[in-house]
């Protein structure tokens, strides 16, 4: 009896915490379907979560007021290019550090490990200065190129490859395959977990990337979603329903992918924590 009561108490407490925790998300989702005037006027009542009427008007408003499709495509292109480019160059480097012997390897590996400590915020100022001098602001390139090579990704690949059994690679090498072919044909197919981890971590980070794009974009042409929602919020007239609809559309693709590949997300995030 006592055991059952404790279980019930535990479950109710957890549910209460969860309800408070998810409230902001529920509020955003529900508010995005409500007539604009009611978003704020009903925010403090239970009507915030159970609307009397719902429509897609706010979503239509977003497309009427700004070029949402453009921001979405910008974000997809920038984030996609950083992620895919990063998978290629960082995995190659990780493999060269983990498996191949060459002069200067250990010194360069130490450099990569040291660079892991350096957050990109510490180099934003000189990079911004350089880019301004060269007149490269408002381009895709300046939002992509500096972020493809990533010390942390190299390190994740490096430590994963170190842990792979060598037998398969040795067999391929004996058969006369070069290092690159061995890597592409043998190592990559056996390294799905680390590729998934790096993909997820990179994509999530750059999908939400704000500081750098805010510094280097001044118009709509190459502006990604996080900067766009911050500007949209300050665009008169202030309509909270539209802002929430913008927010839902901005996060929906990521949430959908997350729900589909949840196990990989959780494993990937946890993996970044256990690699110390």
């Amino acid at each position: 009896m006592k055991h059952r009561a404790a279980r019930l108490l535990f479950f109710s407490a957890l549910t209460a915490v969860a309800a408070v925790y998810i409230a902001p998300v529920a509020f955003m989702l529900v508010g995005s379907f409500k007539p604009d005037a009611r978003v704020l006027s009903e925010a403090g009542s239970w009507r915030a979560f159970f609307p009397a009427e719902a429509s897609l008007q706010n979503y239509r408003d977003v497309f009427a007021r700004v070029d949402f499709t453009r921001y979405l495509l910008n974000s997809l292109w920038i984030t996609g290019a950083i992620t895919v480019g990063g998978l290629v160059v960082n995995s190659l480097a990780g493999y060269a550090f983990a498996r191949l012997r060459w002069r200067g390897r250990d010194r360069l590996l130490l450099l990569v490990i040291l660079l892991m400590i350096l957050p990109y915020e510490a180099i934003a100022v000189p990079l911004f200065y350089q880019v301004s001098l060269l007149g490269w602001r408002d381009t895709y390139l300046v939002q992509i190129l500096p972020f493809i090579a990533n010390a942390f990704s190299i390190y994740l690949f490096y430590s994963f490859f170190l842990g792979l059994p060598r037998d398969l690679e040795d067999a391929a090498r004996v058969d006369g395959a070069g290092a690159l072919r061995t890597f592409v044909e043998i190592v990559v197919p056996n390294s799905k977990p680390v590729f998934a981890t790096v993909t997820i971590v990179t994509f999530l980070f750059f999908w939400g990337f704000f500081l750098w794009p805010q510094l280097v974009t001044s118009g709509d042409r190459v502006r990604p979603l996080p900067v766009a929602i911050a500007t949209f919020q300050t665009l008169p007239p202030l309509r909270w329903g539209d802002i929430l609809a913008f927010g839902v559309m901005m996060v929906a693709p990521v949430v959908a992918v997350f729900l589909l590949f949840q196990r990989w997300f959780v494993r990937g995030i946890a993996a970044t924590g256990s690699k110390e």
């Binding site: 403090g44 190659l92 390897r105 915020e121 100022v125 301004s132 949430v255 256990s274």
Partner: protein, 305 residues
Amino acid sequence: MTEPPPAPRLRILHALPAGPLMALPAVLALLLFVALPFATAVALSFTDLRMGSPLATEFVGAQQYQRAFEDDSFRRALANNLWFAAVVVPLQTLLALGLALALNRSFRGRAAFRTLFFLPVVFPMALIAVVWQLIYAPGPNGILNALLATVSFGAIEPLDVLRHPQLALPALMLLSIWQGVGFQMVVLLAGLQAIPASLYEAAAVDRAGKVSQLFHVTLPQLRNPLVFTMLVTTILSFRVYDQVAIATRGGPLDATTTVMFETVRTVFDRQQVGLASAMSVVFFLMVLAVTLVQRALVRQEREID
């Protein structure tokens, strides 16, 4: 007797071994886009460089560092970052640990709870900063104000937290914890699941109670994930920028300004590259100090083993 010399083509291939070739693109890009800019930041921090200034740039020694530390806004920013870390790191860690322990038990619906608490991790901070402005909306209709009025039976007057000198920073801390706790929880859960069951069995044989098991088995075994997640959260507390730039713009009266916000303001609004570079170097030294402490803690533990 003598072997024929290798064909010239083969010799070229030998001169270009695979290792450096495969590492080259990433290493070159890291040097060009990370190492070089940082070296530039260090060099520029000793100059009075201003963007668009007709005056020649001069070497000014440590003057920019002195200026930064004499600047009231920058000093406030440093204090805010430290205060942010001092509040967020313990609170978020405790919350994440509690959730991880709760969700490590087996019960029906556990997976759904995990999904729910992890969800904000995939939300961009820019979006969270926008949505939470509605939660913090001034007037009796704001969610927070309505909630406070309900639980206090109307005793608490509606607040404008984001424009309140004492409450604005805690308000930003709260939304940061909301987003960050899921990450910490997931890493700690993975740590909990890696603890061998035999340790608990041994503790049970010794008649150790649940509380004793927590302090003598669980927490010591969780040491590395705890140290790691606390390091990451501390560094994230030093990096705080998006929420400030979007929700408060550093105000009211520098109450929510941060080192990164001051740095960006200095280079972007005031064009002062030299001063902003000095601020970047100070920021890096803060991150470096935390990293060294964490390394020392992990090493210490390895020596004990």
